[in-house]
């Protein structure tokens, strides 16, 4: 049970930490350009002789950092909005309307628009991702909160004169924590893949940053001259990382959703 969770997470974090050991500028080596994958360059080299393995790891590092930041931001935004929705029915309508609005627009298009308006770059991508990935989790949290509010113990503490924020802090949050964690872990890979796709389309990070999306879009120019490794390995690595994380997420979700009523007995 635990192994399911720990191994993928461990691998994932190991790759992330490994990428910090690489120095920031990957040196150009014109004598070894356009090399197919070999033992000395596992992922091959690009048209300037830069090692693709190092570039890919650097790209993964950037992607993970970006994914973390945006997942955190959009879960917080979701939490904030869902709590606001419980204040009164007017606020609830507002929030539901916003959710419907954002869900009715295609994700990627809104994202491109926001990122473009903000001038792209790290900031543009983060804000764009944050503003497009909150509705799903907000909807789940809102439903959860609507249910919670009618719970007897919440009603009682309300009658006892506890304020709204007190109830939010002591009754709602602990209950919502598992949902938040699941929401966070689900948004994370989503955000990374979306970052890679709009960067690939040219609306995201600047060509200077070592993102996977940049690597992939650069490689397009060289695919027709047969340099398949420029796109294949970075793409595959990104996919593997996301699958690893997905495995962790699933195991984690099961772990949180397990039926706790028996634990009491098994633990004695």
């Amino acid at each position: 049970m635990k192994k399911n969770m720990i191994i993928p997470l461990f691998l994932f974090i190991a790759v992330y930490i490994l990428s910090f050991l690489i120095k920031d500028t990957i040196s150009v080596d014109l004598a070894n350009k356009n090399q197919a994958p070999s033992l000395s360059h596992l992922y091959g080299t690009d048209w300037l002789g830069r090692d693709m393995l190092l570039r890919t790891l650097k790209g993964i590092q950037l992607s993970i950092t970006l994914g973390m930041v945006t997942a955190l931001l959009s879960t917080s935004l979701g939490l904030l909005l869902s709590i606001l929705a419980t204040v009164n029915s007017y606020m609830d309508k507002m929030v539901s309307w916003l959710i419907d609005l954002f869900l009715s627009l295609p994700h990627l298009v809104t994202f491109i628009l926001i990122s473009f308006v903000l001038g792209g770059g790290f900031k543009g991508v983060v804000i764009g991702l944050m503003l497009t990935h909150w509705p799903a989790i907000t909807r789940v949290l809102r439903a959860e909160l609507l249910q919670l509010q009618t719970m007897p113990y919440v009603q009682i503490s309300k009658q006892l004169g506890k304020g709204f924020w007190w109830r939010a802090r002591y009754h709602f949050l602990p209950h919502l924590f598992p949902q938040l964690m699941v929401g966070f872990t689900l948004i994370f890979p989503h955000a990374i893949l979306h970052e890679a796709s709009i960067t690939f389309l040219g609306f995201g990070l600047s060509a200077e940053q070592p993102a996977i999306g940049i690597i992939l879009s650069e490689s397009m120019q060289y695919l027709s001259s047969g340099m398949w490794w420029l796109a294949f390995f970075p793409g595959l690595t990104l996919l593997m990382m996301m699958l690893l994380f997905q495995r962790f997420t699933n195991a984690f979700k099961h772990h949180l959703e397990r039926d706790r009523s028996y634990e009491h007995y098994t633990n004695g």
Binding site: T25, V28, L30, W47, L48, E218
Partner: protein, 529 residues
């Protein structure tokens, strides 16, 4: 009726068999219509085909013709004009027109049309610089005199670039429906897709061999795919794609002055009239600028980044009549670069990076992020220079951002023109901060003086002499030997794939802009069997 059908069938069969029997020329797949040509060379003009707003600066204006032109040796020859005389003081230019030229609609080309063209171009104040043109007099139906307010040697190049438009057919929609006296006339222009032109039967010059030309404006990948399918006769490809084989096509690689170099801000940090930052604390030191020029290994860049499809550049006008050949230097000489820096008081710090009075030798090099060639050049430049001991950080940015930064930071730029006025625009102090010209705010009184003398010279030879002096007069100049406000790196070759059976003849050294310039001598292209 039945019988008739039968006979038709027989005829058709024979016709088909007959086709098979013929020795099919290799081009058959491309054009059974042997004298049609399909070109995928890009270069679709945004503003249409109006010479007075800039159409036809490079390559053939197709629809129009010019007063003078340059041959492949860059010698001046006549086109619409049969003769021109410049007065001693360089202020009056008398031009005689040929009397047999007609526009494609049948009207003759007269002095009035020429006057109309130049006046329209002057009013539109676009890329065609006619600021010094004071007035134009009509001396006869085919005789014109231009009066300049001051002598201008580069007026000669304006006469070569400005296609003559017909006064009677010039209106709002002219740019999309050009009428002119050039070798071809417009059939159809579908914006963003293709341009179809056919031979102008009234053209006075050598009759072009091809009846009909189709220019495809699709993306690079589509163009290459079409060429591989045998549907394109002339294809331009970027250097990164130059290593392909396309059946039935041969590759030609044309030398160019389409240069790339690093623009170095010249002044100490300050601000200009608009409050923009100007100048850079590191590149304002001549020792740094020279050291950069000597430390870089241009040959390695040509081999490594351009796959040998280019030439080393030491100035913005290599190989042109006004380029000063003395200004070539021995580069890849890090010892010399180090010597220059040490003499100027720079010392290596702990991290091997040079520093002087607490100022690290460090700079940010900007490049336009969409341009992979400039990105590669920037990365390699930074790598070489970092190794030497000057810190260069590269940063990709949009042109908008670069415009904000370019007066205070080095930028990977590219120039290269067939008109020496470019030297004036790049280096004269009066051009500081105008568009992308003289973005480094370079200024040198002696250079300014030479440039003024060059532009106001009354003969071409005299002008070229001054252009060369401005680059290096033995004492000072705007080249690497002098103030070195640029690190010119390479001239990119322009690579085309051309149908094996087409001969395009000798070409000039190609200007900035890959694609349209190849049409320069399109009227002389031939099919060989």
């Amino acid at each position: 009726m039945k019988k008739f059908g039968f006979i038709m069938l027989i005829i058709v069969i024979f016709a088909l068999v007959g086709c098979n029997d013929k020795p099919t020329p290799e081009t058959s797949a491309k054009s059974d219509q042997a004298n049609e040509l399909t070109l995928a060379i890009g270069g679709e003009p945004d503003d249409g085909f109006d010479p007075t707003t800039g159409w036809g600066r490079y390559g053939s204006p197709l629809f129009q013709s010019t007063l003078l032109k340059q041959d492949s040796e860059m010698e001046i020859t006549y086109d619409l004009a049969t003769d021109y005389q410049v007065s001693e003081d360089g202020l009056t230019w008398e031009v005689t027109l040929r009397d047999d030229a007609k526009f494609s609609d049948g009207e003759p080309v007269t002095a009035e049309d020429v006057i109309f063209t130049f006046e329209t171009a002057k009013q539109s104040q676009s890329v065609v610089d006619l600021a010094d043109l004071e007035s134009i007099d009509k001396e006869g139906d085919y005789q014109i005199t231009f009066h300049l307010s001051q002598p201008q040697s580069t007026f000669l190049y304006t006469l070569q670039r400005l296609g003559v438009v017909p006064e009677h057919a010039y209106d709002e929609g002219y740019a999309e429906n050009p009428v002119g006296s050039g070798p071809y006339q417009l059939v159809e222009w579908r914006k963003g897709e293709q341009l179809i032109v056919e031979k102008n039967p009234r053209y006075y010059g050598n009759e072009p061999e091809f009846e009909k030309l189709t220019f495809l404006f699709s993306g690079e990948d589509q163009a290459i795919a079409a060429a591989k399918a045998g549907e394109v006769d002339v294809l331009s490809v970027p250097i990164t794609m130059a290593d392909q084989e396309i059946a039935g096509m041969k590759q030609i690689s044309l030398q160019s002055v389409d240069n790339r170099g690093v623009m170095l801000p010249y002044l100490e940090p300050t601000t200009n009239g608009n409050g923009e930052e100007v100048g850079n604390p590191v590149t304002s030191d001549p020792a740094i600028r020279k050291a950069l020029n000597y430390a870089i290994d241009r040959e390695a860049i040509v081999d490594g980044v351009l796959n040998g499809e280019g030439t080393v550049a030491y100035s913005s006008s290599d190989g042109l009549p006004w380029g000063n050949t003395e200004t070539a230097i021995e580069d890849a000489d890090q010892n010399r670069a180090e010597q220059i820096l040490t003499d100027a008081g720079w010392q290596r710090g702990e991290d091997d990076i040079f520093e002087k009075d607490g100022q690290k030798a460090s700079m940010t090099l900007y490049y336009p992020s969409g341009d992979q060639m400039r990105q590669s050049l920037s990365l390699v430049f930074a790598d070489m220079i970092n190794e030497f001991g000057i810190k260069v950080i590269t940063e990709g940015a949009s042109w908008n951002e670069i415009e904000q930064k370019m007066h205070a930071n080095p930028v990977m730029m590219g120039w290269g023109s067939h008109d020496p006025i470019e030297l004036y625009s790049l280096y004269h102090s009066s051009m500081q901060g105008i568009d992308y010209y003289n973005a480094n705010y370079y200024q040198n009184e002696q250079v300014d003086q030479y440039l003024d003398q060059a532009i106001h010279a009354s003969t071409e030879e005299e002008a070229n002499e001054y252009w060369k002096l401005a680059q290096w007069d033995g004492d000072t100049g705007m080249s690497t030997l002098g103030d070195a406000p640029w690190v010119w790196l390479v001239n990119l070759n322009h690579i085309y794939y051309i149908n094996e059976n087409i001969r395009i003849g000798e070409q000039k050294v190609q200007p900035h802009g890959h694609g349209w310039p190849i049409t320069d001598f399109i009227t002389e292209w031939k099919v060989t069997e």
